[in-house]
Symmetry: C2
Subunit: 201 residues, 2 copies
């Protein structure tokens, strides 16, 4: 804001809110005003919730998910099938697949994709951890739920090579995921169908 | 969420974010994940900024604006014209007028409009404070920048009645075609008003 419309604490609140995805500068002002009006009911609990998340969030040492416990909710859930691991690029993809609710498997979060141009190699991703999980035994299928992008597919091929001879079946999501599309933006129906129609990689 | 995808602290963060205007349930998840990834750079400063706002925000005892000081930024700004008060329903209207940047006047925030059906009478609004400010002298013009709704206009008439004989000029915003607006989409009332108030080209 070029012109000050309120005290520095409110201006700063607006500036920070504008950096939250989904809120632009105008929405940030509306959000700030709503938070101010709902000070006790919303802004205070939200400040506390953010503070707690800052303190407690960690990366799961088993699967690379972010959560407030290590191992994470996905890794400790007793109702999940240990024999199947769904491999995703990002936590947002894990959340999207959970919303689809099609499978009760374990997950593995790579933390990105191989991208030589950006200097991202195998050691920059959580691939070694995945190979170790498979080597430890008990995993019969690995579903490569990576994005249908060049980088995603390159990463899928690399992982498949690493697992050769380990006796694990590697599958991928069925086509039906739009080429170039990102999992996070897909509807639940498409994601469920793609999981059901997964094919051998 | 019907199915737990993360620890209770993260689930609660998503639930609270979903109550922020501009963020729905899906955007709230994306926002939460972004905040988690930008823990030090964004979530922690935002938690602190919200906590500070909770502690410091108050209502200006002069004009009814919300700010972190009383009197507020608008009431203490030495470059503003003391002789003109712009009367608005809500703080959001004050912010919108400031963005327009058309006038350097003082403000008065009513905190709503008269609405007998909702049981909102003159004592529920910041009208007495406005009459007192005018009675204290030095105000030559009052601009009623209330919404062009039945309630807004009823409130404007009520305020005008209260100020009768106090020697202050009462004006209101011009009706007309919004800048960039297409005639085709405007209601008949606006078009009629714009025609009646036509100006030389
Ligand atoms: Zn985990
Ligand atoms: Zn004020």
């Amino acid at each position: 804001m070029s012109k000050r419309i309120a005290g520095p604490e409110i201006e700063r609140l607006i500036q920070l809110l504008a950096k939250v995805p989904g809120l632009g500068p105008r929405s940030a002002r509306r959000a700030a005003l709503h938070l101010i009006k709902k000070k006790e009911q919303l802004m205070e609990p939200l400040a506390v919730a953010m503070g707690e998340a800052v303190d407690k969030v960690r990366i799961c040492s088993t699967c690379g998910n972010v959560d407030t416990s290590d191992p994470c909710t996905m890794c400790t859930d007793p109702r999940r099938d240990d024999t199947t691991i769904i491999v995703v690029e990002d936590v947002s993809d894990l959340w999207a697949l959970e919303r689809a609710g099609a499978m009760n498997a374990r997950y593995h979060v790579l933390g990105g994709t191989l991208s030589p141009l950006d200097g991202i190699g195998p050691d920059d991703l959580n691939i070694r951890g995945l190979v170790n999980r498979v080597a430890a035994g008990g995993v019969s299928e690995l579903i490569l739920a990576v994005n249908a992008t060049v980088e995603g597919q390159t990463t899928a091929h690399y992982i498949t090579d690493q697992l050769e001879g380990m006796g694990v079946k590697v599958t991928r999501l069925a086509h039906g995921v739009p080429v170039g599309g990102e999992l996070d933006y897909l509807d639940e129906g498409t994601l469920s169908a793609a999981l059901r129609s997964r094919t051998a990689f």
